[in-house]
């Protein structure tokens, strides 16, 4: 095994491991087979598992996700790719009304063990319709688990958990992280859904991050250390289940919370996390809670404009310093 692997390759590796373990795991999506994925996240799958298990579909997002649902209800474990997460809007009926509800509304008669994987997030100059961080769209609907790894070993470990899960999981792969590298995941590596990971210990302030904002938070923490502020960085890894306990535990120590999101402030997942803390963790707080999220505008094309909208290390460092001084 190489001693580093890209996040991108970890996606294909994570899927392949599960396909080897379990013949009921099958993939479908646009250009995932012969083309090996628009983001090269399905490299090798067609070759290893053949066209029966790796199906190229037409541009029919509703049919893709709806068919995955029907297959999941009848004994398969489909992994459906929606190429860009923005296109979840094109099959949102399945995301919002069908997949998360069918088990409940049938009184538990059916099970929907499927994964919808999708490339999420901005920073690449893809403009308003191909850059969004839309984990909040999915978080708005009870009944879906949500994974959004920030490292290549978590990609593999969470992919294993997602595919083995008997509950539907939406799996966000961040476009901005695809080229990042990390140690390869050990054989059989599985990361339980809903367990946050403390990426850096600290005493003064808790930075809660997800996916692309994890490296931002880590870089900011490094800079903050230079300014004498000790920041703890928590990678949530999943939004559902949401590991509130990990955040509250950290606040016992730091008493200051900053949540760093890529999705827009308006309607972002951080609002829910903050509201739990402002209720159950109120007595722990020594200062206002800060959310650093994308501005409430569509994503602009130009780099320089996009950098204004999506929070970067400078903005985070500055805001945390202000808070630390509170």
């Amino acid at each position: 095994m190489a001693d580093v692997i890209t996040y991108r390759d970890a996606v294909a590796e994570g899927i392949a491991r599960e396909m080897r373990r379990d013949p009921s795991v099958v993939c479908l999506g646009e250009d995932i087979g012969a083309a090996e994925g628009v983001f090269k996240t399905t490299v090798g799958l067609l070759k290893e598992f053949g066209p029966d298990r790796v199906w190229d579909t037409p541009i029919s997002e509703q049919a893709i996700v709806g068919a995955a649902m029907g297959a999941a209800m009848t004994g398969m474990r489909p992994v459906a790719e929606i190429m860009f997460s923005d296109f979840l809007a094109c099959c949102y009926d399945y995301i919002a009304n069908e997949i998360p509800k069918v088990r409940y509304m049938t009184g538990g008669q059916v099970t929907v063990p499927l994964v919808v994987r999708t490339a999420n997030g901005g920073g690449l100059g893809f403009g308003a319709q191909h850059s969004q961080a839309v984990e909040n769209w999915v978080f708005a609907v009870p009944g879906l688990k949500i994974a959004a790894p920030s490292t290549s070993d978590d990609v593999v470990g969470l992919m294993a958990a997602a595919i083995r899960s008997d509950d539907p999981v939406v799996f966000f792969e961040h476009k901005g992280l695809l080229a990042t590298k990390g140690p390869p995941a050990a054989e059989g590596h599985v990361v339980e859904l809903g367990r946050a990971r403390t990426m850096r210990d600290g005493d003064d302030v808790t930075l809660v991050a997800l996916a692309s904002t994890v490296p931002v938070a880590l870089d900011a923490a490094e800079r903050l250390a230079g300014e004498g502020v000790s920041a703890e960085v928590i990678d949530l890894r999943c939004l559902v289940p949401l590991d509130v306990a990990a955040v509250l535990a950290s606040l016992e120590k730091t008493s200051r919370l900053v949540v760093i999101e890529e999705n827009p402030y308006q309607g972002g997942w951080g609002g829910t996390l903050v509201s739990v803390v402002a209720d159950e963790g109120f007595d722990l707080l020594d200062a206002p809670i800060k959310r650093i999220a994308a501005a409430c505008v569509p994503l602009p094309f130009a780099d320089a404009l996009e950098a204004q909208v999506i929070p970067g290390v400078d903005a985070v460092t500055e805001r945390v310093l202000e808070l630390a001084a509170y």
């Binding site: 099958v26 029966d52 298990r53 199906w55 579909t57 037409p58 029919s60 509703q62 049919a63 893709i64 996700v65 709806g66 068919a67 995955a68 649902m69 029907g70 297959a71 999941a72 209800m73 009848t74 004994g75 398969m76 489909p78 009926d93 399945y94 009304n97 069908e98 069918v102 088990r103 409940y104 509304m105 049938t106 009184g107 538990g108 008669q109 059916v110 099970t111 063990p113 009870p142 009944g143 899960s165 008997d166 509950d167 809903g194 559902v240 289940p241 949401l242 590991d243 509130v244 306990a245 990990a246 739990v276």
Partner: protein, 336 residues
Amino acid sequence: MTETTVRPASELDAHDVLALYEQMQLIRRTERAAHDLFMSGLVKGTTHLAAGQEAVAVGASAALRPDDYVFATYRGHHHAMARGATPEECLAELMSRATGLCRAKGGSMHLTKASSGMLGSYAIVGSHLPMAVGAAWSARLRGTEQVAVAFFGDGTTNIGAFHESLNLAAVWRLPVLFVCENNFYMEYTPIGAVTAVPHPAADRAGAHALPSEVIDGNDVLVVYDAVRRAAERARAGDGPTVIEAETYRHFGHSRADPATYRPADEVERWLDHDPLDIARDRLGALNVSDDAVEQADARARRVVDDAIEAAKNAPDADPAEAFTDVWADGGNAWRT
């Protein structure tokens, strides 16, 4: 009927056809009961009754294998019952009882009997067609020779998911049947007013290189034969078929809708073409006595009367049920 008994309609005997008739009676009476219970306030929310459309469900189900999959709409009582749900389970569901088919969490629009392959009733128009395609894909992958059937209304043919499903199923030559119950109306608007072609389902099949048929959906044996042939083709690997079964609902669209938007002569013509009458004529031709038919009627009546009583007397759903069955572990925890 199991696989080996899916013979052409012409080979069905009096006993077989009487069984189909009795099942239609059972559905008709259950639908009437649902209507009356709604009107008397014992059924809450909404209902979309299928009285008048029984032949589609009963004919189709009889032509399928027990392990085939069925997906239906909010107007799905007939499909649930044709696939083995009892009138009691159904009425109990409508009446919010603990003994309901979906433990009172689904209601009229979501009747489901997964244990006999009836994989749900869906209330968003068109949403279940891709699911049926997926179930057919799954059958192919597992090599089971099962067939999946999606039942849907005429109005459904104008929503995008319909076309995405037909194309995907056609390209993959999947064992799926698309059965349109063309009852000529959406909610209150005639389908002809909003559709560019006269046969909303059948006239679209060609756009996906699929064979199609327009049939009398009120003749249970016609439905049976069309579905039998299509299922045979599907199992043989010859891909999907679109069947447009013309039929008519006896009640309004939902709840207490009096359906005054339908011309009186049209209603009359269709009431004269009642699937029960047609089946009775078929029985006559097979020399089944009036007496035997009346006995079937009486059996159906008894079952439904008993079902009404049982449902009325069943315990209410436990409020704690509101918090179960979100996840496969039975719970609903979304956070630590």
